[in-house]
């Protein structure tokens, strides 16, 4: 049962439907092993943003302060979502990659596992 309620069939409005984000959608991002940042991040992005722009313009603002960040070999990065691994195409948009509102992407940087064990 979706909820036990006094009135059967109770439904509350989705508080976070994509239509409430003014043309943007939410994207969650996790840089695996780099837990020093405390948590995976959540940002609003335009669905038409090219994946390449995410890597070049967005990720440095989030993770750039980490000593591992400058050493990332982007061609070796392993990307995944809840439905499995994928290989991003820099010129195509987030939407083209099938990334829906509130989806999470994870990226793993082999050989870079956090600063001196500190995450």
């Amino acid at each position: 049962m979706p909820v036990k309620a006094i009135k059967p069939g109770y439904h509350g409005d989705y508080k976070d439907g994509v239509e409430k984000f003014h043309g943007q959608q939410l994207l969650n991002i996790s840089w695996d092993k780099h837990i020093m940042f405390g948590f995976p991040m959540c940002i609003p992005v335009p669905p038409q943003m090219p994946f390449g722009a995410l890597i070049e313009k967005v990720l440095p603002g989030i993770y750039g302060s980490h000593p591992d960040f400058a050493r990332i070999d982007w061609s070796a990065v392993q990307w995944s979502t809840a439905s499995g691994a994928f290989v991003p195409e820099p010129g195509r948009s987030l939407a083209d990659h099938g990334l829906r509102h509130k989806e999470q992407i994870r990226f793993r940087t082999p050989g870079l596992d956090g600063h001196n064990g500190a995450g």
């Binding site: 405390g38 948590f39 991040m41």
Partner: protein, 532 residues
């Protein structure tokens, strides 16, 4: 009767008769309204009660006696609070870091006492049995008293330190305070039986000692007699609340076998929700008390694993099993406070209290108390952060977190079997994606998704543009959404959060007490450096 000068007064009631009249005797059978119209919420959860008279009143307390006891306790408590104020007790605590723990308590916990008061008022109206209804009414008054006395006990600190004056406003709006707030709103928005299992049993009976024992001894260790006397004053109330919790469980389980799976489900859910809420306490115990009583890991071992273990083996005869995911809590006890303090440190600019790094001496204590994890995961992190602070480039996280749809914590927890990876639990309901911090929260969501799809998630609300004060123009050229959101929440950047070293509470503490703001680090102002 003739006035013959020989009038005999009616026989004095014995205790038992007095008790019966003032409890069961106050109920009546309705004659012109149907019972189901009066008690509208008692059936929809599916609990079966055949005979409310089987309810054993766990404490033989009548209202007249209740008022008398509580009145005496109040008089004693306020005498101590007065003395505390006259002696400037706020300057006798260990150091100003302790005051930050009080801030968290006032802003985040006092609102829960009030929410609990509301919840028990609802039960005092909705339960058809007279015995439990009166018990709920008394507890409703207790919880209101707890909120009031906590506010009074801490109010004196508010005259000297930042970040306490707007506690009801902060409770409603601050992003991380949606964690405690949503916890109780979930409970109050449940049916009466789920509420009473959630609060009276899972929270008060199973988990309250964890909040109470270390917190009150922590206050005593750190010289806060005001909070200690509040604690003593509440303790006898808590004893009653716990008795109610265990009585409720036994009553439900004895009434009908169909109640067993419902009770088990609620125990599983509310144990997990309560445990997630207590993560805040874990952090306060390990990091915010300048003099520590015991570690979170030790407290969890004694108050949950040992005491809870005995409780659940006793309940086994009813067919009740220990709460689901209790094993995860035991794995997490080695890291939860460290993970959370790390998060507080990285987001310190968006908090209502300042943050500091643990000193060398404190880290050695952690190494001893957390031999499996501290030196491996957290010491290197704190040492690196201190290095960056010394270089003048302190570490911070400026992006908002992914939140758990159920407990509303940032998804900061790591895999039960791998402390180097975050937990990722993604789920879907009607084509919409949701995220959870744990299997515990994921299960709770999927059992009743309609209850959580409209949760007020602070991060999402900020991005939707709903967390700005009236009159703020988000299209203005100099608009800063983060600053506007903090302003909306009642957090003053540069005053409330940030680093303890630079904080106004620390400066004032040193100039007023001539003692270091952080007893483990030495003074931060010249005034105290000269004298120590």
């Amino acid at each position: 009767m003739a006035a013959d000068g020989d009038r005999k007064p009616a026989k004095k009631l014995n205790l038992k008769e007095n008790y019966a009249l003032l409890t069961r005797g106050l109920g009546w059978e309705p004659s012109y309204q149907k019972k189901e119209d009066i008690f509208r919420t008692v059936d929809f959860e599916g609990v079966k009660i055949h005979d409310w008279d089987k309810w054993e009143d766990p404490f033989r307390l009548t209202m007249d006696a209740y008022w008398k006891y509580q009145g005496e306790k109040e008089r004693k408590l306020y005498a101590i609070i007065d003395a505390f104020q006259q002696n400037n007790g706020q300057f006798n605590v260990t150091d100003v870091r302790y005051v930050q723990a009080l801030k968290v308590f006032l802003n985040g916990i006092v609102g829960l006492e009030y929410a609990s008061h509301r919840g028990f008022n609802i039960l005092g109206r909705e339960l058809p049995g007279v015995g439990p209804r009166i018990a709920a009414q008394m507890q409703a008054i207790d919880e209101l008293r707890h909120a009031t006395t906590q506010i009074h006990a801490i109010s004196h600190y508010n005259r000297y330190f930042e970040g306490m004056a707007e506690f009801p406003h902060q409770f409603d709006r601050v992003w991380y305070l949606s964690i405690p707030k949503s916890f109780f709103e979930d409970a109050v928005a449940s049916g009466p039986f789920e509420f009473i299992v959630a609060i009276s049993f899972a929270f008060e009976y199973v988990l309250t000692n964890l909040a109470f024992m270390p917190w009150m001894s922590g206050a005593a260790f750190n010289g806060d007699m005001s909070t200690v006397s509040f604690g003593f004053s509440a303790q006898s109330d808590e004893a009653r609340h716990m008795t109610l919790g265990i009585e409720v469980i036994k009553f439900l389980l004895e009434q009908d076998p169909a109640n067993v799976p419902l009770v088990q489900k609620w125990i599983d859910k509310w144990f997990w929700r309560g445990y997630r809420l207590l993560a805040l306490l874990a952090t306060m115990m390990d990091y915010m008390l300048p003099k520590r009583v015991m570690s979170w890991s030790e407290a969890w071992t004694i108050y949950y694993e040992e005491n809870g273990g005995a409780l659940f083996s006793d309940l086994a005869r009813y067919g009740i099993k220990p709460p689901k995911y209790a094993d995860v809590t035991v794995k997490e006890k080695h890291r939860v406070s460290h993970e959370m303090w790390s998060v507080f440190y990285t987001v310190r600019d968006a908090l209502g209290f300042p943050i500091w790094l643990p000193s060398k001496e404190e880290m050695d204590w952690f190494s001893e108390k957390y031999p499996e994890t501290f030196d491996r995961y957290y010491r290197p992190r704190f040492e690196y952060w201190r290095e960056l602070e010394d270089k003048g480039t302190p570490f911070r996280s400026s992006t908002l977190p992914k939140l758990c749809q159920v407990c509303q914590w940032p998804c900061l927890y790591t895999e039960p079997d791998d402390a180097s990876e975050f937990v990722h639990r993604q789920g879907e309901y009607q084509g919409e994606i949701f995220h959870f911090c744990s299997d515990g929260c994921s299960d709770i969501f999927h059992d009743e998704p309609e209850k959580y799809v409209h949760a007020w998630m602070p991060v999402h609300q900020i991005y939707q543009g709903n967390c700005f004060k009236e009159g703020v123009d988000p299209s203005a050229a100099d608009f800063n959404p983060m600053a506007a959101a903090l302003d909306y929440m009642g957090i003053k950047p540069g005053v409330d959060g940030g680093s303890m070293r630079d904080h106004v509470d620390a400066q004032r503490w040193e100039s007023w007490t001539a003692r270091p703001a952080n007893m483990h680090e030495g003074a931060i102002t010249d005034a105290v450096r000269k004298t120590t």
